[in-house]
Symmetry: C2
Subunit: 447 residues, 2 copies
């Protein structure tokens, strides 16, 4: 993309309404614009990151054998009356009346709707196990929306639902979700720690929240510092293997890690003192096993091997897709702006032309652009007739992890400059070598 | 995908509520399930087609230089009061009150919101031309929703908005949209004819609707039969060239083609009698140039070259993404089911194992599956222990354009059967040759 043709409305001033760094930078980098309280338009740069996160979630869910679909944003109140949640859910549920006076709502979650789909189409254990998921906009009418996309009212979430014949099978689905979530967050450059959590309005005895450590986190967390050394990494996993998934669960949840909701001071005391940590965390996902709560209430039954009709065992599993943008920025920024991890960056690298209009510099930038494009990478080329300082400030603010700087002086020596946004380190090298380096970083095959 | 692990709830019976063929087949093929009147869940097969259509729209819009973003589903009523449409828009607008008593609405279209974004960030002609678009769910509270996704209440639409300094520039944007729409529909296997249309509530003197001819179409259309010979085809186009885009507009709109809303009997009489056609059509898109209607009302001004503040010229351009599934099926089916064009098919081909459990047949199917997968293609392998007749009926119903049938008898002679869903013709050939043929059809590079 050429900056001269893009829509990147960067702000010089920090908007006064933004209290936390991710909200400030998302506004300043032209990623979002508030449309109403807690409701945002995703400007082109923000939309690109949202799509990258969504793509990682889709890939990792499907790798785990979970099946994508899509439920609508609006639901009929009838199903929620069946489960009993229509009255239980408080004012955070946005209730709507259509032109015929029918009660509807903007879905805050989808247990009822997916259970209705299941009971309409599945009646035999032979069709199990089954996990369906979708990534869809949801609405919670927060009384005080704030912190930008971190606590908005309209938000994008992945929610998945497993249907299994037995509790044992359902716990394997729970473990599959835990593994796929660990992989997803790591690909986004995040460390998200599974912590024992509280069931809340969805219910459930087995539930873990995934928390990213950050000073601005809404939850107080207590953990054994050993847990931050754990990485899922590149290990191979067979999602059909009960043992392998269970082993990952044990590895990542055996150390003490809880939010204030489930914190147990006596247990925490048993962690060696030098490893006890109290910090703050941002919740970016949660997994639940809740057994037959909804299948009992809504009659989602299957015939088992013996011919008996039994309620199906379920769980639900969520990732806060739009919220993740805020969490990533909270975890990865400096005083000049955002620092995107390579896995979610909106553009793979920036190209800064120090002397727009100089024939040689222009040609070198175009050649770099074409070479990166041919590798399937997306560079953002700042081809505007602006001062170098302004171009650098914009690139730093929007946080592309790599920048290639091209100027007449360097070109005389046959070199351009490759700069890491994270370390700030620069290196001079021939343009072809810079392309080769970027290709290596992103794992592209070069000729 | 293996059928044994997929969720494909095919119905034997035709649901009584479905009046038209696309609705019937989408229900029977397990593509959608009604969640409430005019509101659907997209089951896995339907979701896959929806995503393919969405991907084509994204690709062709970006090829035309239009920039993707995303606006929210819910909007504040305030912006609609500014444009004057809050009161004008009738009961089809779903009006909502939030917990603080603020008036909101589920966006049926986005002229106000995009104009607000524009006026907040753009103030100079130097930032023009600019076309922003998004693909987002919308809601129109139809009094009698029917025909499945063809006339639903919650529907997915691409809407794009151009901002230009002059009427001339805005008409070039109009033409770019026309070209990109022709390309998009052809890639979906559709012929959509641009017809002179009526501005309706959005307003505008320049507007064309794109109609797919089908008996079940909601509009009566009148056209010169010569128009159905036109194809955009594989021709190269420079979207920056005013002349090239204008030439396409003239080629595709100079012959008589109008809906009943704009039909002019006297003009139609001038078409040679043997070329006059009266038929029915399904609207799948519409483009508008409406000048300064919204920029005047909402103060979207830019400074021009002379330093004067002038209202920006705008247009809006829509493609009915979810409706297109219905339109494609109306245009492409037979008595056995759907016939997907290759460009939008949910799976590239089906694999039917005539004797599940036979070691040789199973191994041959697995080898085909792996070979297609390695090419980046997605086969759907019916690995269930079912009768061949049932497997064929399912494949025909869900409409995959190609089927490979594998059985012990053929394998003895070293062949499998490749069948075209459209022509019904079958050919026996070695498995490797079948893979090669499928790769050619989808333009995959083979080693």
């Amino acid at each position: 993309m050429r900056m001269s043709r893009y829509f990147l409305p960067v702000l010089k001033e920090t908007p006064s309404e933004a209290q936390i760094v991710s909200h400030r930078y998302m506004l300043r980098a032209g990623m979002i614009k508030q449309a109403a309280a807690g409701i945002y338009s995703w400007l082109p740069l923000g939309f690109k990151v949202l799509k990258r996160i969504e793509a990682i979630v889709h890939e990792e869910q499907q790798r785990a054998g979970h099946i994508p679909m899509l439920m609508p944003t609006l639901q009929s109140a009838d199903l929620w009356r069946e489960s009993g949640r229509y009255d239980d859910y408080g004012q955070e549920m946005l209730r709507i009346t259509d032109r015929h006076g029918r009660d509807m709502l903007y879905g805050p979650t989808n247990e009822e709707l997916i259970t209705d789909i299941f009971r309409s189409h599945v009646s035999s254990y032979k069709d199990l196990p089954l996990t369906l998921y979708h990534i869809q906009w949801k609405f919670r009418d927060e009384i005080r929306p704030r912190f930008g996309v971190m606590r908005g009212r309209e938000f994008l979430m992945k929610d998945g639902y497993n249907f299994d014949l037995t509790k044992e099978d359902a716990l394997h689905a729970y473990n599959r979700h835990l593994v796929s979530y660990l992989r997803s967050y790591e690909r986004m450059g995040l460390q998200a720690i599974p912590m024992r959590a509280d069931g809340g309005p969805i219910g459930g005895d087995y539930t873990h929240e995934f928390l990213v450590l950050a000073e601005t986190g809404e939850s107080e967390v207590f953990y054994d510092s050993d847990i931050t050394d754990l990485r899922f990494g590149e290990r191979a996993i067979d999602y059909d293997s009960v043992e392998q998934c269970q082993a990952v669960l044990e590895e990542f949840t055996s150390r003490y890690a809880r939010t204030d909701e489930t914190h147990d001071a006596a247990l925490f005391e048993q962690v060696p003192e030098d490893r006890r940590r109290v910090a703050r965390g941002i919740e970016v996902g949660q997994i639940f096993y809740f057994g037959t709560k909804y299948s009992d209430a809504m009659g989602a039954m299957v015939v088992d091997q013996s011919g008996a009709r039994v309620p199906v065992h379920m769980g639900s599993h969520g990732i806060g897709v739009s919220r993740l943008l805020g969490a990533i920025i909270e975890a990865s920024h400096d005083e000049r702006g955002i620092i995107w991890p390579e896995g979610v960056t909106p553009f793979h690298c920036g190209i800064v032309n120090l002397k727009q209009g100089d024939a040689e510099a222009d040609a070198a930038c175009e050649a770099l652009y074409a070479a990166l494009d041919a590798l399937g990478l997306e560079p953002l080329y700042d081809d505007r007739d602006e001062r170098a300082g302004g171009k650098f400030a914009t690139m730093d603010l929007i946080g592309l992890p790599w920048r290639i700087t091209v100027g007449p002086r360097g070109l005389k020596n046959g070199v351009v400059e490759l700069t890491s946004r994270r370390s700030g380190e620069s290196e001079e090298l021939p343009p072809e070598a810079a392309v080769e380096r970027i290709a290596q970083i992103y794992g592209c095959a070069t000729a």
